[in-house]
Amino acid sequence: MGIRIEKNEQENFRKLDEIIERYKNQEGMLIRILQKSQEVFGYLPVKVQAYISEQLNIPISTVNGVVTFYSLFNEEPQGKYVIGVCMGTACYVKGAPEILDAVKDELQIEEEETTMDRLFTLKSTRCIGACGLAPVMTINDEVYGRLTPADIPPILYQYIKTHKKAQVTNENE
């Protein structure tokens, strides 16, 4: 039908087919399929939503309704590193707003935005369960605790450095 799959997308859509195949006969698996698809694509563009809707025979409005309801799903591409500043109560009273400001300031982006170079996406998250270390921030899977605003620039710099190094090695190869 109407969905055109470009050459460079074929691999991902093949994976998507596998995911759909694996879950489609079980009841109530739409959320799980979307989660797995997001792992493959990094986000859920409308094209992917349309494809899932077609394969599962569910109206696209239902699929999109689910995608927009849950904060876990992104319709926009994400940065290589996703920064989550915990805005849970424990972190909030321990100064999380200042941490968030420090990140915004350093990267010159707002919440839910991605830097121009697609390196960082900034989000505020709910309690991640490390309240004992409040205030807390995550960058992908790494957790940083007991932060002060002054800790932010050096932490971010580490990621920029790693990224640059990787780029240089890639170019040399």
């Binding site: 989660q35 689910v66 309801f69 849950y70 109560t89 940083y144």
Partner: protein, 632 residues
């Protein structure tokens, strides 16, 4: 791990005795002075300690013992949360039960050199009592654990959650085996739970036995057992710690629940933000299946029960049970009016029993030790213990479990070690976004479901945030209302529009644009939203405002009439001022001020900030060489 399916209660008993032998090292009393030739080192692998790099410490320990050929002498185990997250990473060395805090990579060698090779405790890693300055060697010695009674957390920090044998060694699955082998009638089990007095730990406090009885009474083609592990309270991690530290206790309870209500399928709904908990659950379910404790014909009893995990995708309202059910079925998690309750028509319109993680975790031990034992703990109104996540301005942040009826004073000053930096207690927030702020003068309240509701807060799921003079109550309300408004699913108007209005009024007040009439409007609107909202989210969202209007009205009035935020938090009301005494009239501040709001004559203190010009950017504060400038 090589697991054989267990066929009978005797099989289970045999396995228990065999593994008990290996973990008895951790349970019996021994001290280091005795000749010890075997050690078990337990390393906390909960989220808190993992964030403090405990996994790296464990790796280094393992490498180091391999290098030194000590692998026969020392074994390492991951374990669940000890609760003392503030001082993580925590490790405990058995058999002498030495409790080491803040263990860093560089301490690994010392522990091996001194403790393992020479049998001497590494004193500098012991906890030092804040009250007596003594070193406290074992977990039982440490002040933080005095007054605690770990029932739901009984296995957290004792066993390796990724090994079903260790759960079995601690009498796990015995309650289930007893029931299935003796074919105990469901109504007798339900009676036992009713007698124990256990009430739901998910927030509502509904009597658990009664809920099981109702769920059992409805007929259905296919009934379900559901475990609510959505843990929505933003600042709480009780359920997460149980799942990470002792997943089998929840699984065992769910199988028993299935047997009692005649359901053969269960779902655990966990937040996707809890990757470690999800992974441990997956391992636990897999091991239980291999051991013949989940699936068809459990322990040869002809009873079948299967269990699957469903991941939440980040929506607070999905903790509400009717919304949760929608989400498990893969839809938008919007709540439905009750009745019908899930016990009558839940998942796919079938009778569904839904309980919280902590509620389930209490079941196996109640069945094993008897309802009288359980109901002897706690108050008339609420039996047993409750797990709380202690956070905020408190010295010992972490996870605690105390008998119902413990006073807030005991929790904060005995267990929690008092307010951080020696500050003064201002308020305690319980119940998360649905709860309220309890003022310091009610600190002798003995907490249970009823007493907390009586004073305008609620038990909630167990978040407890301690606040001091630096926390502004209006700002905290703003925080919770912002949360409620953000998380409102939008289905019903009172909650969707009402919380937005409440938030607007609060923002006005904190920006200095509040009027005294606003307080009445707030109060009235709060009551309207409470009465008219569809689900618990809207019905309880006004609680933080109502409780602070009751106990901290002065603070609202200061914001409105004096245009002043006593805690110095609300930016709109802050003034940047120069201390007359401290100022040395160097003039640096006047030079950095972007709007020329600061005037004065060099070398003739003090300088002044003209409040009508000042934009409160704070640029001058860090530049002052004598720290004379501050916000108030």
């Amino acid at each position: 791990m090589n697991l054989q399916p267990l066929r009978t209660k005797e099989d289970l008993q045999q396995l228990r005795d065999k593994t008990y032998e290996t973990i008895s090292l951790r349970i019996k009393d021994t001290n280091v002075e005795k000749e010890i030739n075997k050690y078990h080192i337990l390393i906390c692998a909960g989220t808190g300690c993992t964030s403090s790099q405990s996994h790296k410490v464990r790796k280094k320990f393992e490498e180091e013992t391999r290098k030194r050929k000590l692998t026969d002498k020392v074994k390492f185990f991951k374990t669940g949360c000890f609760g003392f997250c503030k001082l993580g990473p925590i490790i405990v060395v058995h058999p002498d039960k030495t409790f080491y805090t803040k263990v860093k990579l560089e301490n690994v060698d010392e522990i091996i050199d001194q403790h393992i090779e020479k049998g001497q405790v590494v004193e500098k890693l012991l906890y030092k009592s804040l009250k007596t300055n003594e070193l406290q060697k074992t977990m039982n010695d440490v002040d933080f654990f005095h007054g605690q009674n770990r029932i739901a957390l009984r296995n957290c920090g004792v066993i390796n959650p990724e090994d079903i044998n260790e759960y079995i060694a601690m009498d796990g699955y015995q309650a289930l085996a007893e029931i299935l082998t003796k074919k105990i009638a469901p109504k007798d089990i339900i009676e036992t739970i009713k007698k124990s007095g256990l009430r739901g730990r998910g927030g509502g406090g509904f009597p658990t036995g009664k809920k099981w009885e109702i769920a059992a009474s409805y007929e259905g083609d296919k009934k379900f057992v559901l475990c609510n592990a959505d843990e929505g309270d933003p600042g709480a991690f009780m359920d997460r710690s149980i799942l990470e530290g002792d997943p089998h206790s929840v699984i065992e309870a769910m199988i028993i629940a299935g047997y009692c209500i005649n359901a053969h399928q269960g779902y655990i709904y966990v937040r996707a933000e809890y990757p470690i908990a999800v992974e441990r659950l997956e391992i636990a379910i897999d091991q239980a299946k291999k051991a013949g404790l989940l699936g068809n014909n459990i322990l040869d009893s002809a009873f079948n029960f299967d269990l699957d995990i469903r991941l939440g995708a980040g929506a607070f309202v999905c903790g509400e049970e009717t919304a949760l059910i929608k989400s498990v079925m893969g839809f938008r998690g919007e709540p439905n009016p009750r009745p019908p309750y899930p016990a009558e028509a839940g998942l796919w319109e079938q009778p569904t029993l839904n309980n919280n993680v902590e509620t389930f975790a209490n079941i196996p031990i109640i069945l094993r030790k008897g309802p009288e034992w359980y109901s002897s703990i706690g108050t008339d109104d609420s039996k047993g213990t409750k797990v709380f996540a202690l956070a905020g301005q408190i010295t010992n942040t972490g996870l605690i479990e105390v008998p119902m009826g413990t006073t807030l004073r005991t929790i904060i000053y005995e267990i929690g070690g008092g307010i951080s930096d020696g500050n003064e207690l201002k308020a305690i927030q319980t119940g998360g976004p649905s709860g309220g702020c309890i003022p310091a003068d009610l600190i002798d309240t003995e907490i249970d479901f009823k007493s907390l509701t009586d004073i305008g807060s609620m038990m909630g799921s167990g978040g407890m945030i301690v606040m001091d003079q630096s926390d502004c109550m209006i700002d905290i309300c703003r925080f919770y209302l912002d949360f409620a408004q953000d998380e409102s699913c939008g289905k019903c108007t009172p909650c969707r529009v009402g919380t937005k209005r409440l938030l607007e009024i609060l923002k006005n007040i904190s920006n200095g644009n509040g009027e005294m009439e606003d307080l009445e409007t707030l109060e009235k609107l709060c009551h309207d939203i409470k009465d008219a909202s569809l689900c618990g989210l809207g019905q309880t969202a006004p609680n933080p405002i109502l409780s602070t209007l009751k106990y901290f009205r002065d603070e609202y009035i200061a914001h409105i009439k004096e245009k002043r935020c006593p805690a110095g938090v609300c930016n709109g009301l802050l003034q940047v001022v120069i201390s007359d005494e401290k100022c040395v009239a160097c003039g640096i501040c006047a030079r950095v001020c972007p709007v020329n709001a600061i005037t004065g004559e060099n070398k003739k203190p003090p300088f002044h900030i003209h409040q009508d010009v000042c934009i409160k950017c704070g640029a001058c504060i860090p530049k002052c060489p004598v720290d004379a400038i501050y916000k108030r």
